[in-house]
């Protein structure tokens, strides 16, 4: 059952502009990362969110600033949607001390305790137990908080997925499991990794509410996420969203992409979440090409400025190498 967005349209035009702006912001940021990575200015492993913007923006709309988020290594979209300043995220890509993790984490380990963004995690499925624990603490203290836990279809094959789904359902923990099913675990298509590919059906077997959602339609994602989050917050136990989406670029920056055909990519590009929303708004006379261009320019300037700041920012002093291994420096 796929949740379709139904008229009348309760969202204001202004809200749709904001959704569009956020998705475009993520898209331009990721494109700049491609450029900077090719120039060798940012290093390591970088996993791009291009094509999945609707999931991050839609789910984030259902959360309050007081909710928790646990993400994965494909996390730029989650971090920006959550409101971590682009300057801090870009500085982190440059490994500078002004980065949101002081430059120590890089693309896969963005942290912002103030915004309850409990990091990316480079171990597939590694974040699920953390989210379960955060929710456990909230439940034990009676806090009305939702913990949103993002992971990909690859994580579904990990033991930790099974253990956490069961534990969360068993203890009725306030976790919103958000499975970004982009059909590929790096180079392994879903059907070559899972006997049962209907992940929402799989999730229901643990005794929790689970819905498949059109992950390319930000309005659908938002509506499903709002309903799920409200139910979780009201003590309805964990909920599972299978957000069916697609990444337009390689698993990380570059790979042979021999695991999927160009035709398939082109087909999914037809359902680009940004074009989908922009097209609908244009048709409803809510958006002009000039407005769209203006939004694009403003975002590009903001991102370029973050690059300048990141380049100029200081790196952490080597003297601090052993800081934060323990909270108190050993005597």
């Amino acid at each position: 059952m796929t949740v379709r967005q139904v008229a009348p349209d309760p969202l204001t035009v202004q809200h749709r502009h904001e959704l569009l702006r956020q998705m475009l912001f993520i898209r331009r940021f990721e494109e700049k990362c491609v450029e900077l990575y090719s120039a060798g200015e940012i290093r390591g492993f970088v996993h791009l969110y291009i094509g999945e913007e609707a999931v991050a923006v839609g789910v984030n709309e259902s959360l309050t600033p007081d909710d928790n988020i646990v993400s994965t290594y494909r996390e730029h979209g989650h971090a920006l949607a959550r409101g971590i300043p682009v300057d801090a995220v870009m500085a982190e890509m440059y490994g500078k001390i002004t980065g949101c993790s002081k430059g120590r984490g890089g693309s896969m380990h963005l942290f912002d305790a103030g915004r309850r963004f409990y990091g990316g995690n480079a171990i597939v499925g590694g974040g699920l137990p953390l989210a379960t624990g955060l929710a456990l603490a909230d439940k034990m203290r009676g806090d009305q908080r939702v913990t949103a836990c993002f992971f990909g279809d690859g994580a579904v094959a990990e033991g930790e997925f099974h253990e956490c789904m069961n534990l969360a359902a068993l203890w009725k923990l306030p976790v919103l499991f958000c499975c970004e099913n982009n059909l590929y675990a790096m180079g392994t298509a879903l059907e070559r990794a899972q006997a049962q590919t209907d992940l929402a059906l799989r999730a229901e077997s643990y005794g929790m509410t689970a819905w498949p959602v059109d992950g390319m339609d930000v309005l659908a994602v938002e509506q499903a996420a709002r309903r799920a989050a409200e139910s979780v917050r009201a003590g309805g136990g964990p909920h599972f969203l299978e957000l069916r989406t697609y990444r337009f670029r390689a698993h990380s920056m570059y790979d042979p992409e021999l695991y999927r055909g160009k035709a398939e990519v082109a087909e999914w590009r037809e359902r680009d979440p940004i074009e989908a929303l922009a097209g609908r708004m244009r048709a409803a006379g809510e958006l002009s090409d000039e407005e769209l261009a203006a939004i694009g320019e403003k975002l590009a300037a903001q991102i370029d400025e973050s690059v300048m700041l990141a380049r100029a920012a200081p790196a952490e002093s080597v003297d601090d190498l052993t800081r934060f291994v323990y909270s108190t420096e050993p005597a």
């Binding site: 120590r104 380990h109 942290f111 137990p129 379960t132 624990g133 033991g159 099974h162 069961n166 005597a331």
Partner: protein, 350 residues
């Protein structure tokens, strides 16, 4: 798997009446297991952020009966039995700690901790550093360790040495009643993850403990027996054997100084280096396998910083490098024993 009562090990405190409420300044006869239980109970009473989580810690009362009675006293919310999902519930303990709770996670034995090693290494030990100091993990993980109960290879590992390799966590080995009673509270105050290894042979050890015994420090080694001819360095389950070996050596006029490390990371090397500076001979007793073990690290530090105090090579008494065999006579042959410690000491004194 049941815990057999180990032979009563000497204890430093004086005789007193057994069990029940002690006279105010008096002593109470207590077992290592009961001391640890008292520590958990005190923590649960004093701090409502504290809760115990692990396999069979509630209704079953704990695999080694450490948490017996706590479910009835504190209820299922704070004494939580978990499914057999080590990675999930250890990870959940980390997450709850990040959110401000003070969980005590019990992993039944170090052997099963291997299923949670990813969460311990890649999350608990690493989050603070990776996040640039934003995410503390004030978590305590307790696990039983060691061999000696004929439970064969998969249930008899001593892997404290592995965990002492990881920067970001602290590792403790309470070997006495005072430490079993006192280390937990201090560990719970620590903003960083602390692992407490309880040797399976100690649970049944009984002795006298001050009725008002409380928190102890978790960063320094202790000299359990003064001596001038050689330094016996050990921890946890082999402390008893080291003390017995020292008694035997004393009959020949060889005075061994016995050092109980107590904290395995960070390692209080100043204490044993000072002792070696005095005795010029060191014997290390470590139930781990010798290659890449904690005893190897201690030997290296002695060589690095007390080289010119050495009048004999450092001796090590470790487990034989074999998967622990089931039959008793083979298990005893594989484990460090009093005879082996005495022989090593004689080689060192020469």
């Amino acid at each position: 798997m049941t815990a057999q009562a180990a032979p009563s090990r000497r204890d430093a405190s004086r005789a007193g009446k057994s069990g029940g409420p002690a006279s105010p300044a008096g002593l109470v006869k207590i077992s290592y297991r009961e001391a640890m239980r008292a520590a958990i109970r005190e923590a649960l009473q004093r701090d409502d952020r504290v809760f115990l989580m692990g396999e069979d810690v509630g209704r079953y009362g704990g695999c080694f009966a450490v948490s017996l009675g706590l479910l009835e006293e504190f209820g299922p919310e704070r004494i939580r039995d978990t499914p057999l999902s080590e990675s999930a519930f250890v990870g959940a303990g980390i997450g709850a700690a990040m959110a401000g709770m003070r969980p005590i996670v019990e992993i039944m034995t170090v052997n099963f901790s291997l299923l949670a090693l990813d969460q311990i290494m890649n999350n608990a030990a690493t989050l603070l550093h990776m996040s640039g100091g934003q995410c503390n993990v004030p978590l305590v993980i307790r696990m039983t360790t060691g061999a000696g109960r004929q439970v064969a290879a998969q249930h008899s590992h001593s892997l404290e040495g592995w965990y002492t390799h990881i920067p970001g966590i602290k590792v403790l080995a309470p070997a006495t009643l005072e430490d079993a009673r006192g280390m937990l509270w201090t560990a719970l105050q620590d903003p960083d993850p602390v692992l407490i290894f309880e040797h399976g042979s100690l649970y049944g050890m009984e002795g006298m403990l001050a009725a008002d015994a409380g928190a102890v420090d978790i960063s320094s080694a202790a000299i359990r027996r003064q001596g001038k001819d050689l330094t016996l360095i050990t921890y946890g389950g082999t402390l008893g054997k080291a003390l017995s070996a020292a008694d035997e050596l004393a009959k020949d006029g060889i005075e061994a100084e016995v050092i109980d490390l107590r904290a395995l990371r960070p390692l209080d090397d100043a204490t044993f280096l000072a002792s070696v500076g005095k005795t010029h001979r060191a014997v290390i007793v470590d139930e781990g396998w010798r290659s890449g073990s904690l005893s190897a690290e201690i030997t290296a530090r002695i060589m690095e910083r007390a080289f010119y105090d050495l009048d004999a090579a450092v001796e090590r008494v470790c487990s034989a490098e074999v998967p622990m065999p089931y039959p008793r006579h083979l298990e005893e042959a594989a484990l460090p024993q009093i005879g082996g410690i005495v022989a090593a000491a004689r080689r060192a004194v020469g």
